[in-house]
Amino acid sequence: MSEKKLFGLSAIFASPDAVIHAVKKVEEAGYKNYDVHTPYPLHGMDAAMKLKPSKLGYVTLSFGLSGAAFALLFMYWAMSKDYPMIIGGKPFFALPAFIPITFELTVLFATLATVIGMLAVYFKFPSNNHPLHDTPYMKAVSADKFGICIEADDKLFDIEKIKNLFKELHAQNISEIYFPAPEPVNIFEPKFLTLLALVALLTSAATYVTLNKVIYAQPFTWMMNQPKVNVQTKSAFYADGFSMRKPVEGTVARGFIPYEYKGLAAPVVPLSNPLLPTASTLDLGKKRFLTFCSPCHGNLGDGDSRLRGQFPNPPSLHSEKVRTWQDGNIYHVITNGQNVMPSYASQLSRDERWAVIHYIRALQKAKNASPSEIVTAKKESSANVAK
């Protein structure tokens, strides 16, 4: 067996007072790489060991502030930049309403950073292979004894000198501590390979089931699968096999009251335009006229079709006959059709037809205005401008 490497020399003391006294002597002797092991923190030990105050607080502070800054900036970005939405009349950056989450994240960041920083950075944990583990020394100091261990890499390390020092201090159990012999590592050991194969198998199976089955599973389909008839499906109940039924004879669709003078030459009772010739009505009428009427009647109602003779040209809307017609007559023609003109009842709603009539009236007025009327209009418009 090869010679074991020395880690340090340890000594056990029975009482807290004895260990503090011993530490002061060790410190006086100038040793630097030593450690004191006690089952619980002893008051006054920091001073005896001349330890500087722990700097852990700075870790806590910096991560706590980062947590606060992250929370505030993130909420600012999410609520005012990425998806701004007014909620409860609050401004996008509603600072009072952001405080709870900012506080929680500050605490969370600070706590995790403190603990992880302490364990991983200060203590260099996990370190289960430290030479002190599994020694009688460690068992004693974790129960009820107090120990000092001077490490072999100290500049002044001299085993005999230290032994004498410990003896002078009435130490109970002076023992050398060695580094543990390195354990041989054989990755081709059957046990390990079996474990590896098992883990691989389990991981693959779990991944397969998760990706192919679990994520497509519908948790509960009570709400989706209801005992109702869906559109376009087959029905076993109705003789014709259709789920969808035709409306009852004489059903009137919403907004489509039948025209009572259908098929007659003219309405029996004169109809009057229910709409007022406001700007929006005229605008609607213009749009509908240009879409549905102008292909045959022309953009200004002159009867100059854009269809190049593919369809017979209608007469002009500016004839004496049409101009003296009542609104109801024009409505009747649009609704019922006349000669080769078909009914436009299915393309234009009732209000749209009346709006188109207003527009036709406006066109007729524009095309057939007397010079005196033009002058008046000009005067009015220039008077308006002068104001």
Binding site: P16, L42, S54, T60, Y83, L105, M118, K139
Partner: protein, 456 residues
């Protein structure tokens, strides 16, 4: 029973040595569980099973199996949630606030109370998840970049709750674990079983009792306590915001945050006392968890119970003083309406009965104390029920007034949460040291150097 309160009472009774402390605390972990343990476990597992069945029924058929409906849309779920979060507050208060106040007596009960915090928050966490009826959608509570391009509403109290409760759980767990690391080291060094040694080694992370570590450890413990203290106050404050930020009469009051925090400490201490009475008896820990500890907790119960009573009174005063007829109606209806029975159970259990703790004999007699703290537990559950249900059942529109009656599934879920809590507590007593060994050793008599630091 002549106790001299003029000087500090010893934290540990009798003269037990440091080695005895280890032996005493590790005893439940070294021995195989006995028959009594299995009887207790079977009872708690039965309760838990009732809960599992109830939750399964709930998931299968939806929240319609609960008794809640318009106008009482929040009932047992939020009541149980607030109740359990409240129970959790005692642990952090004992471990953090009393630590900062240098109350040495906390060491005997801190570990257990912290464990109860964690279990109680776990029980509480169930309710917000199941009350949606679609628990598989709970992931939407977390703000993550999703395909909808949406974020959670960070200005909503319900989202604050998600952050508060999850932070509280994480910090409590970390705090608890940090306290456990030295004890895992002790257990690792004293066990003879190879398997136990491996497990304890993994969790001890290689703790070596080094003073160079203790120095940072103590600092970290203080920092964590410093953070846990405002955290514990913030959590129940935010829970109270769930109510207080709404505009329902009876909820929309600024007294809610302090009132909820006092109530949480009150109910948490009552639960800790309830469980500790049994634990110290069953595990022979009378010397470590002494009658003095229980008495001190009873004093805190008396204090917080009186604070809660003050809040009840103040709510009525403000209802009158504000001149708001809706607010006045809610409070008169609360005390004399259809839910008067619940209100008076609450007031009797929380305000009147704990007043018996003014008497020293009552504070130091275990059977009486047990009865009182169980009353407090019941009363605090009813407090949350009263706040939630009585404010909702008669709102602005008399035509939609109603009366909430719980169903069997409602009760089953509540019973199940108790089953989960006590199952976890039982498992904890058999797997981890219920008292912090290293902390107890540090406060034992003669454990610290004399004032001159041994330099006589």
């Amino acid at each position: 029973m002549n106790i001299d309160y003029s000087q500090e009472l010893p934290v540990i009774e009798g003269r037990i040595t440091l080695a005895d402390i280890d032996r005493l605390i590790a005893k439940p972990l070294d021995e195989k569980p006995d028959k009594k343990f299995f009887i207790a476990l079977s009872i708690t597992l039965t309760l838990l099973m009732i809960g599992v069945i109830s939750v399964t029924i709930l998931f299968a058929f939806g929240t319609g199996v609960w008794g809640l409906n318009q106008p009482v849309g929040w009932a047992f779920d939020i009541t149980n949630f607030v109740f359990w979060v409240g129970i959790g507050h005692a642990g952090t208060l004992i471990s953090a606030v009393l630590y900062l106040l240098r109350q040495k007596w906390r060491t005997g009960i801190a570990r257990f109370a912290e464990a109860m915090t964690i279990f109680a928050v776990m029980c509480a966490g169930i309710f917000p998840i199941i009350h949606t009826g679609r628990p598989w959608l709970a992931g939407y509570l977390v703000p993550y970049p999703n395909q909808h391009g949406l974020w959670v509403n960070f200005t909503s109290p319900l989202v604050w709750d998600v952050f508060a409760v999850s932070t509280y759980f994480t910090v409590s767990l970390v705090f608890w674990y940090v306290g456990l690391i030295p004890d895992f080291g002790v257990l690792r060094d004293r066990t003879v079983s190879k398997l136990k040694k491996s497990i304890y080694s993994i969790f001890s992370l290689g703790w070596r009792n080094s003073h160079r570590n203790w120095q940072h450890y103590e600092k970290a413990y203080m920092l964590l306590a410093g953070f846990a203290t405002p955290l514990v106050l913030s959590v129940h404050t935010i829970v109270s915001f769930d109510f207080a930020v709404s505009i329902i009469p009876g909820w929309h009051t600024t007294i809610f945050p302090p009132y909820f925090v006092a109530g949480a400490i009150f109910s948490g201490f009552a639960m800790v006392v309830t469980v500790l009475i049994f634990v110290r008896k069953v595990f022979d820990l009378q010397e470590i968890i002494t009658l003095n500890h229980l008495e001190k907790m009873n004093k805190i119960i008396l204090l917080t119970g009186t604070m809660v009573g003050y809040a009840y009174g103040m709510e009525f005063f403000i209802a009158w003083y504000s001149g708001n007829p809706f607010e006045q109606f809610v409070f008169i209806n609360r005390a004399f309406g259809p839910y008067a029975w619940a209100y008076w159970i609450m007031v009797s259990c929380n305000v009147f009965i704990p007043q018996l703790f003014w008497i020293k004999k009552v504070r130091r007699t275990i059977p009486i104390m047990l009865v009182i703290v169980i009353f407090v537990n019941v009363g605090m559950w009813f407090e949350r029920f009263v706040i939630t249900v009585t404010s909702l059942h008669r709102d602005f529109l008399p035509s939609s007034w109603g009366y909430f009656t719980p169903t069997l599934v409602d009760l089953g879920v509540l019973i199940g949460s108790f089953g989960l809590f006590f199952t976890l507590v039982l498992i904890f007593t058999k797997t981890l040291p219920v008292v912090a060994m290293s902390e107890i050793k540090a406060v034992a008599e003669g454990a610290q150097p004399s004032h001159h630091g041994g330099n006589h």
